[in-house]
């Protein structure tokens, strides 16, 4: 319930209290006055005053009228009180419905994928008030698990509304985007535009490929999740800003590979900032210590809930408590791994490609000459996108995916710019002399010469250039 409604009801109750005490005061005054008048009347009667009869009638009449008026007033106040009670009840009922709707937005059937043995997932949410601003969500698309956890600033109805918006944006945007950074970037643009109340939301968004355990993630000001593999530690995260603070921000994406039985524990600050009666916080250390041994997600979750509630004891729950536990359970050895890079359509971001190739070359053990050629091919492909897919002055992103296999390396460069097929451009004629040789046209020529296959397709409003080098 909002503070405004609470204030209003308090005000009503105050007014009724004043009225009731006024009525009590009038009744008391009347009883005293009636006593006095009755004594006066007896005095008149004893002295055989001829006015005694009429005075009695008048007194009785006045008493009846007053009693009638009093009863009328009392009834009116009672009906007002009843009305407030029913408004109160209605609001509580509506909040309960709201909570029902809110909870129905979150997946709560566990295990959610009984037919799959490559994922073990469990989640729970305990709101501090009737409705809260925490959310989690997950679903499966193309053998990839899309998931998020978030915490809206503030509490109650306003937070729950923002939470509902965030959840539906997450579903809508992630239905056609594979990159967590792009999902978060688009959610941020959308939420910043309509953010007149300066509400913001911290969020961690991830996409786990269940074929190879590759995890792409983007953190928007949220707490770093716990990574449980051979040891337990916080997953390294770039903090970024929360969603809704500033439109046009590009969020940094990160990636890692999960092995069989590695797990991720995501939570909101309701866990780490759970307070006991001495105002001590549960904290990261107690949270990490609560993980012991290798267990199923449900078991881990119940252990954590118990650890928090044992710690909190009698203290009231101060914040929403939300947790999501994801365990990768695919035993098969992956035949490929991926790396991703997301850049703005800005030539100045081209040097990032060299670092990206450096990481790949190291992981694949490529020699210097080959990695330089690959760098060149990738730079030409990406420069083409920046120069020709996006008209000057427009803002856009270029998504670069590297797929590493034992005997090949592929790059997939995609963008949402206007249709542009670089493979259609004519090859440079390298036999021409200095005078006849055109200055341009070398880019795609280099790509074709370095890579073994180069393919273009336009799909879902995107230019997708795929190129593979056999190793």
């Amino acid at each position: 319930m909002g503070q405004k409604e609470e204030k209003l009801i308090k005000k009503f109750r105050g007014a009724i209290r004043v009225r009731l005490s006024l009525i009590l005061f009038i009744v008391l005054a009347m009883v005293i006055a009636a006593g006095g008048l009755m004594q006066y009347f007896y005095f008149m009667k004893e002295n055989s005053d001829p006015l005694a009869g009429p005075v009695f009638v008048v007194l009785m009449a006045v008493s009846f009228v007053l009693i009638f008026l009093l009863m009328l007033g009392f009834r009116r106040n009672m009906s007002k009180l009843k009305k407030i009670a029913s408004v109160n009840e209605k609001m509580e009922r509506e909040l309960e419905i709201a909570r029902g709707i809110q909870m129905s937005m979150l997946p709560k059937t566990f295990p959610p994928y009984p037919d799959r043995d490559d994922i073990d997932i469990y989640a729970c949410i305990v709101p501090a008030k009737e409705v809260g601003g925490d959310l989690y969500d997950f679903y499966m698309r193309d053998d990839k698990m899309f998931f998020c956890i978030g915490d809206v600033s503030g509490k109650g109805v306003p937070a729950s509304l923002v939470m509902a918006v965030a959840r539906s944006l997450f579903r809508t945007i992630s239905s056609h985007e594979m990159s967590p950074a792009r999902i978060v970037t688009m959610m941020n643009d959308s939420m910043s535009e309509m953010n007149e109340n300066n509400m913001f939301i911290t969020m961690f968004c991830g996409v786990l490929d269940l074929k190879n355990g590759h995890l792409r993630y983007c953190n928007a000001g949220h707490n770093a999740p716990v990574l449980l593999n051979d040891s337990k530690q916080m997953l390294p995260v770039v903090p970024n800003l929360p969603l809704g603070v500033m439109p046009g921000m590009v969020f940094k994406e990160q990636e890692t590979d999960l092995k069989y039985q590695d797990a991720l524990f995501l939570y909101t600050d309701g866990v780490t900032e759970a307070e006991n009666i001495n105002h001590e916080l549960f904290g990261e250390e107690r949270m990490l210590n609560a993980f012991t041994g290798l267990k199923g997600s449900r078991n881990h979750m119940e252990t954590m809930v118990k650890a928090v509630s044992d710690f909190v004891g009698e203290a009231p729950q101060s914040d929403d408590l939300t947790m999501l536990f994801i365990r990768y359970m695919n035993e098969e050895k992956p035949d490929s791994t991926e790396r991703h890079l997301l850049i703005h359509n800005d030539i100045q971001q081209i040097p990032q490609l060299a670092d990206f190739i450096g990481i790949i070359a190291e992981e694949m053990n490529l020699d210097h000459a080959l990695s330089m050629s690959l760098n060149l091919a990738l730079e030409e492909a990406v420069t083409n996108v920046i120069m020709y897919s996006y008209p000057e002055g427009t803002d856009g992103l270029v998504d670069i995916e590297a797929i590493m296999r034992e005997k090949s390396l592929s790059f997939i460069v995609s963008d949402s710019g206007r249709p542009f097929d670089p493979t259609k451009t004519e090859d440079a004629d390298i036999t021409l002399g200095v005078e006849e040789r055109p200055v341009g046209g070398l880019g795609i020529f280099l790509v074709r010469n370095i890579m073994d296959t180069v393919q273009y397709e336009r799909k879902d409003g995107k230019n997708i250039l795929s190129m593979t080098k056999n190793l």
């Binding site: 081209i350 330089m372 060149l376 420069t383 440079a428 390298i430 021409l432």
Partner: protein, 101 residues
Amino acid sequence: MEINIKTLPDSTVAELVGRLDTPASLEIAPAFESLYEKASGTVVIDCSKLEYISSSGLRLFLTLRKSASDKGGRVIVRSICPEIRNVFMMTGFLNLFQIED
């Protein structure tokens, strides 16, 4: 990316240091274009410290070469590393430039 231009009695030497990628080419383009005026004589591009080149860098080389051809001068590309030599070969630049070790 750096470009150091030295004027010697018989030639102009431009030393390229670092990675000549697309943004670097844009950055050094003004300095590089100043070489066009010297293209009637001998211009030496010292590549001993050049680590990488992309098509935008190659375009700068080619434009200089065309300028020299117009003005009757010559362009010598000196000390290119094997990786860049490979790019020169792929693009037919080995035939357009005088390459020196």
